[in-house]
Structure formats: structure tokens, C-alpha cells
Amino acid sequence: MAATFHGVGATVAALSSSSSPSNSFGSKKLLSSPSRSFSVRKRASFTVVRSDGSVNFDLNSKGRRAQQLIANAVATKADSSPASSSSKPGHELLLFEALREGLEEEMERDPCVCVMGEDVGHYGGSYKVTKGLATKFGDLRVLDTPIAENSFTGMGIGAAMTGLRPVVEGMNMGFLLLAFNQISNNCGMLHYTSGGQFTIPIVIRGPGGVGRQLGAEHSQRLESYFQSIPGIQMVACSTPYNAKGLMKAAIRSENPVILFEHVLLYNLKERIPDEDYICNLEEAEMVRPGEHVTILTYSRMRYHVMQAAKTLVNKGYDPEVIDIRSLKPFDLYTIGNSVKKTHRVLIVEECMRTGGIGASLTAAITENFNDYLDAPVMCLSSQDVPTPYAGTLEEWTVVQPAQIVTAVEQLCQ
């Protein structure tokens, strides 16, 4: 079943420009840029968030390029470096558009890829990730399901058993708790209990994490609940570059992959390459190489860490920031090399303190690299409380940059 048409990178230029890029961190209002061609770029009128000073073109993102300080981790003035000139290749888009691009390219490439979820078809997706796909690919490939997570996740798994590659969207990750049985027992274990007869090449994705006053039930971090399930892979994206790459890699993978997105990161903007690329599902990303301390983080906390890094640099510290990206399995190779270099580890995560990703990562690092550690592993996580509605309280449940700075200072004494 060969794909009948080949996705060309240039078609990406036809991005929807209906949404004005609003950065959720920014306190400054942004002007929407009408022109989307990459030859013209207005400077200093909108904010750019990048993972690094330059764009990653190679899969191996261990980052041995020139050490440019990440001055703009979150919404600040656009950096004045000449790197933001108009002659850069690639195209700029928001994270949800990057996800859509990845999904669209994979759907063009392989007719077995289909999307299932609530409001993904005609509505275009509650976060616009699947906008336009239903009109392009039809109702049989972009399926609007009723509100029945347990059964449509089960159906996606059943379809995957025959060789289809469904991408199941949970409108919010928290709703996937209703499908936990299907994800744990059928998705994760079928490859094993059938003795290898069936593979389940399904992708389960959706936004999770603490948003802006969404309430307790809609601010859940499910990576901690799913991490024990044997047989699944979990990845968390944090930038448009790795969102597209991980989405494509997840779809191509023969294993069931859960792709964790974050509600607040959908409007991040970045310049990504035009050509086809994927990100390795099991690799961590070196965000900022350093010498003094290794900070491990993922998803939204990456931006809090980078903001803290700015302060830390001013104070004279040199943190090494790694976005672990792969939540299951951990990339202990990259992490290990970093620990061997810096001898101090700080984990910053949005999961709960009890039984979260940080807890497992702390255990893994302590078991494997105990001899290299000069200080115990420190883990900053969210408080073990249901996320409150009130804005101030909600702020205190997640880790803030100031806490990260304090933790690093404590660790580096």
C-alpha cells in the first residue's frame, strides 16, 4: 500500500495564519505578523522562543556548537543576535502547527495513519492540532468519536493490531484515565502476551499539565501514572522542533507511544527546518551545556529552568540543562555523561512529588551513578495537591524559577 502522493516540504508554506501567535508566558502583547514567507521578518515586534541560539538540523542534538547563552528562555524582548536575520532557512510556526505538520506529513506518507479523537475532524481539534485534516483526508481517516475514551482507545488498539497506525487524541490527558485499562492491559501488554505476534503501532497524544486556572481535574500529569506500564514508550515534547520530530517518530514506531504535550506550550513559535526530519524517541536533548550542575527537566518546566538559568548565569553558575524528552525509557546515556561531568543533579519536573517521573529518575540516577555524585540528587516537583483554581495558589503548586535558582545554589555549595 504505497502512498499515492509525496509530501513536499514546500507545501508547508501554506500554513494557516488565522491565529495570532500569542505567547502564554508573555506579558507583552504581540502583533501578528501577516507575512509568513521566510524571506521577510519583522524584528522586535514579536517574541521568539528558541531552544538554542540556532536550530537543530541533525538528529544528534548533543550540542557541541558554540556556547551561546540562552538569554531568552521565555517571553522577553526578541534577542538582538544576528542569528534572527531573515536569511535563515526553514520556516516559522507555532507548536500546534508543528504537530499538525508532522501529522499531515505522516498521513500523506502512509495511508495506514488515521486520527481518532473527540472534535478532531470537523471541529478541527480543540487545540487546532488537526485543523484542516478532515477536509484533506476525509472522514474515514480523521474520525470524530463520541465522548467514550475507553472504547475509542480500545478501538484504536484493535485497529493497530491489524496494522493500521491510529493516532488517538485525548482532548485532555486527564480523560485518558478512563481508558487506562485499554492502555495498560491491551496497549502495553499485547506484544508480550501474544509472544510477539502483534505489534501495536499506536500513538496516544494529548495535552496535559497545569494550565491557567483550569481546575484540578483538567490539570493532571498522567506521565506518572503511565510510567510503570511495561511495553509503552512515553515522550514529552517541548518545542516546535521536537514536537514535529517526536510526532513523526512516534507514528513510525512499531511500539505504542504516548506523546505528552502541554496546554501552555501550544503557542510557542520557532523556526524549524523545511526538510523531513524526525527526533529520536529515546534520546534526551542538550539544551544548554554547562559545567557546574546538571538540570534535568521536560515539557513546560524547561522554560522555567531556562529562565532560572538566566539568573544563575548572572550569578556565576554554569548549569547544564537537559530536556530529557524521553520519559520512558530514560536516556541514561546522555544523563550519565552529564552526571559524570558535573557531579550534581537537579531534577525539575511538573509531576507530583510522590511517584512522579522525578522520583523514578532519582532512583535510576542514584542506582547507576552514585559514585559520580557529589551531593544527593535534588528533585523539585509539584506539590502533592489537586491543582487549585485560584491563580496564586496554582502558581505555588508548580515549581517556579526562583525555587530553581535557590535549589541550584544549595546544591552547589
Binding site: G158, T162, G231, F330, N368
Partner: protein, 449 residues
């Protein structure tokens, strides 16, 4: 006991058969011929929102004899599994299908191997009817390598991909959404095949069933939901668990058919009808009125919630094998002695398979980590140090005599050992998810260097 009407041609051909059958030697395998035979089902079908199919079923002597043989094989297999369980060769859960064989056999006669079947944990006989061998069954039940899932699944996880048998599921009702997903894939690929998703009367009260039914009806999927109603959901009778035990009507807008599940021919007719219906009009529910002689599983005696009289009553009046036997004898398709010979043959087959299965070895310790993941994108993360994990895996092969439950202690022992012997290399405890099948063979040279 007159059970059926004979077509005129059949009686003529059967009388012709009679002298032939006695003339030929006893060693002749009873294969029968394909001359058509019309038999009436024991009871008419009851339908909901559709037209019931006719009571007259087309069959032929060969098919009837095949039914007899297959059901006798399944019955023998389940009884043998009972003895093996009591001998502690089969552990854990063992759910036996004896009494319900007609459903598996009748269904298989109506469909092809391209149609999909998915069922719950009472799957031994369905697996056999889909083409599984007795060796695979007994080896899997005893947890041996020759099992259909390499010994890693157990009684509740029989699968046969090449004949589209999708298992084998332990959680009640969870297989029905999977079944509707299979139907979705069939519609997606335009296969003109259907999926039979089997579940029990206990599972009929699961919410995910109705969710899946709704979606199947909405998207016109070729899904056939088959409720094997043996009137007891584990230890609770159906009247105590379901307000409305008319499971075939529960689809509301989805048509349903109630079938006598102890009559293999009725099952065959219903499944044929359902397949035609599903390909044209979308989902349909079949309720098979059947009965299990054993308890829910081997740990359930089966007599605390029902009387022994009831069980023996059903066995006398409605047993599927007896019904086919009477049919064969009354049509003179075979003599009683020949049928007894078939049963003896089948018994021997089962015994041979058990003996062969007992010889199959237990899985290797390294099998613990295979098939957790399928091979990835070609880049694997090996843990702290690629060399060390490769070394560890090699060391595991040296320790292959270790038993499964001891392997974790052994691994930590190996880890300590590696620390002392490999200098500055760091001991690595197996971190879940880092094992990839066959990924370390290339790294062996590195480790040995």
C-alpha cells in the same frame, strides 16, 4: 427421538451409503460426502429489529462428521486440561469451555480465516477452531516454549495472527472495543470481511460495550457482537446481574438475534446471516444461549450457585456433541462404533499432545525481556554505558540455568561482580524499558574488546 426432517434425496443416498459403509474396512476414516442435507434447528430464532433467518440449515455429512470430531476434540482437550490443572501442571487461571463447543465450531463453519474473531479468556476451543494445534494449547497452558505465546501469555492469552484470531483477553469486556477496532480496520482496508467480538453475559453489563456499539453503528462497521450467554457471570446468575437478560435486544437500534448455542447448525446459520447483515448494514448482536459444565474457572467448583441437577439436566437434554451424534446416527451417516472410534482417536491425539507438550522446555530467562518492545527506530538507549549493558546481557546467557524468580537477585549479583571486575565501569541495574530484543548482538564485540 426424531430431531429432523429428511430430504428425499438424503434418505436415498443414506440407504446407498449403508451397505457401503459396512463393506469398507473399519480403518476407513469417516470423511463422509458432500451431498446436501437439510436439517432443522432445534428451536426457531428470535429476532430483534430484523428478519430472522430460516430454521432450515443446509449441511452435508462431511460437515456433520467434522463437527462431531472437532467438538469431541475440544471436549477431550478441556477435560484433559482439568486433570492437568489438578495435577498442578497448569497454574493460575484456567477457564474451560466444555458445553459451549457448538459456538466455536458453528461459527467457524460459517466464515473464512480472513474474518476476525476476538474473545475473552475462555479461549482454548476458539483457538483450536481457528487452526491452533493441541501442542500449542497444552504447551501454553503449562507455560512452555512451544506454546502459542511462547509460554508468556498463559490460558487467557492465546493468539493466532495468521488466522486472524485476536485472543485471548483477561479483562472482562475490554475485548469488545478491540473487536470494533478490528472491524474498523476491515472497513478501512475495504476487506469485505467481518469481525466477531465474543463476550459473556457478565460482560454484557460493561459500559464500554455500549460505547463501542454506538461507535460501530455510527460508522457502519462490520462488527458482530456475540454474547455467549451461559447464564452465569462468574458466580452470579444472570437474573441477579442484569435487569434485562434479553442481551440480543440490548442494542436498541442495533438488530439482534437469539440463537440456541448448543445447536452447532443453528450457530452456523446465525453466523452466516450475521456476516451478510454486517457487511451490508453494520453491527448486529447475536446471543448464543449456551451452558458451561465447569465452573467459571478451575478454582470455582461451579455447584455453589447452581444445582447439580441443573448441570446434569442440560448435559442430558442439550449437549451439543450428543445432538450431532444423534443427527449422524439417525441419518445413518456413520455407525455408533465409528463415532466411538473417533472419540478414541481424539483422546489419543490429546494424550499425545500433552506428552509432547510436557517435553517442551520452559522459556529461557532471557525471554523475560524479549517482546516488551518491538524493535525501535534503530537507535536504542542502552543505559548508563553501552558496554556494560551488553556485558550484562552476555553474562545473563552464562547464567541461563537461573530460574525466573531468582534472576533479579542474580542480576544485582552480576552487577556487583561487574563492578569489581570491569574496573571503573559502573554496575548497572536493569532499568525497565532498556532491553531491546536482538539489539545487543552487535555490541558484543564492543563489550568483549
Amino acid at each position: 427421538m426424531a430431531l429432523s426432517h429428511l430430504a428425499a434425496s438424503a434418505s436415498r443416498s443414506s440407504s446407498l451409503l449403508k451397505p457401503l459403509s459396512s463393506a469398507l474396512s473399519l480403518r476407513r476414516s469417516i470423511s463422509g460426502d458432500n451431498s446436501p442435507l437439510t436439517v432443522e434447528t432445534s428451536v426457531p430464532f428470535t429476532s430483534h429489529q430484523c428478519e430472522a433467518p430460516s430454521r432450515s440449515v443446509e449441511t452435508n455429512p462431511k460437515e456433520l462428521l467434522t463437527f462431531f470430531r472437532d467438538m469431541a476434540l475440544m471436549r477431550r482437550m478441556e477435560i484433559a486440561a482439568d486433570s492437568l490443572y489438578k495435577a498442578k501442571l497448569i497454574r493460575g487461571f484456567c477457564h474451560l469451555y466444555d458445553g459451549q463447543e457448538a459456538v466455536a465450531v458453528g461459527m467457524e463453519a460459517a466464515i473464512t480465516k480472513k474474518d476476525c474473531i476476538i474473545t475473552a479468556y475462555r479461549d482454548h476451543c476458539t483457538f483450536v477452531s481457528r487452526g491452533g494445534t493441541l501442542l500449542e494449547v497444552f504447551a501454553e497452558l503449562m507455560g512452555r516454549q512451544a506454546g502459542c505465546s511462547k509460554g508468556k501469555g498463559g490460558s487467557m492469552h492465546f493468539y493466532k495472527k495468521d488466522s486472524n484470531f485476536y485472543g485471548g483477553h483477561g479483562i472482562v469486556g475490554a475485548q469488545v472495543p478491540l473487536g470494533c477496532g478490528l472491524a474498523f480496520a476491515q472497513k478501512y482496508s475495504k476487506d469485505e470481511t467481518v469481525t466477531f467480538a465474543l463476550y459473556g453475559d457478565g460482560a454484557a453489563n460493561q459500559g464500554q460495550l455500549f460505547e463501542a456499539l454506538n461507535i460501530s453503528a455510527l460508522w457502519d462497521l462490520p462488527a458482530i457482537l456475540v454474547c455467549e450467554n451461559n447464564h452465569y457471570g462468574m458466580g452470579t446468575a444472570e437474573w441477579r446481574a442484569a435487569k434485562s437478560p434479553a442481551y440480543y435486544k440490548r442494542g436498541d437500534y442495533v438488530p439482534g438475534l437469539k440463537v440456541d448455542g448448543m445447536d452447532a447448525l443453528a450457530v452456523k446459520q446465525a453466523c452466516k446471516f450475521a456476516k451478510e447483515h454486517a457487511l451490508k448494514n453494520g453491527p448486529i448482536i447475536l446471543e448464543m444461549d449456551t451452558y458451561r459444565y465447569h465452573g467459571h474457572s478451575m478454582s470455582d467448583p461451579g455447584s455453589t450457585y447452581r444445582t447439580r441437577d441443573e448441570i446434569s439436566g442440560v448435559r442430558q437434554e442439550r449437549d451439543p456433541i450428543e445432538r450431532i451424534r444423534k443427527l449422524i446416527l439417525s441419518h445413518d451417516l456413520a455407525t455408533e462404533k465409528e463415532l466411538k472410534d473417533v472419540e478414541k482417536e481424539v483422546r489419543k491425539e490429546v494424550d499425545d499432545a500433552i506428552a509432547q507438550a510436557k517435553e517442551s522446555p520452559m522459556p529461557e530467562p532471557s525471554e523475560l525481556f524479549t517482546n516488551v518492545y518491538a524493535k525501535g527506530l534503530g537507535v536504542e538507549s542502552f543505559g548508563a554505558d553501552r558496554k556494560e549493558v551488553a556485558f550484562l546481557r552476555e553474562a545473563m546467557h552464562d547464567y541461563s540455568f537461573l530460574q525466573m524468580e531468582k534472576s533479579f537477585y542474580a542480576l544485582s549479583f552480576i552487577a556487583q561482580r561487574s563492578h569489581s571486575s570491569v574496573g571503573t565501569a559502573h554496575p548497572v541495574l536493569i532499568y525497565p524499558g532498556l532491553y531491546w530484543e536482538d539489539s545487543f548482538s552487535t555490541k558484543k564485540e564492543e563489550a568483549c574488546a
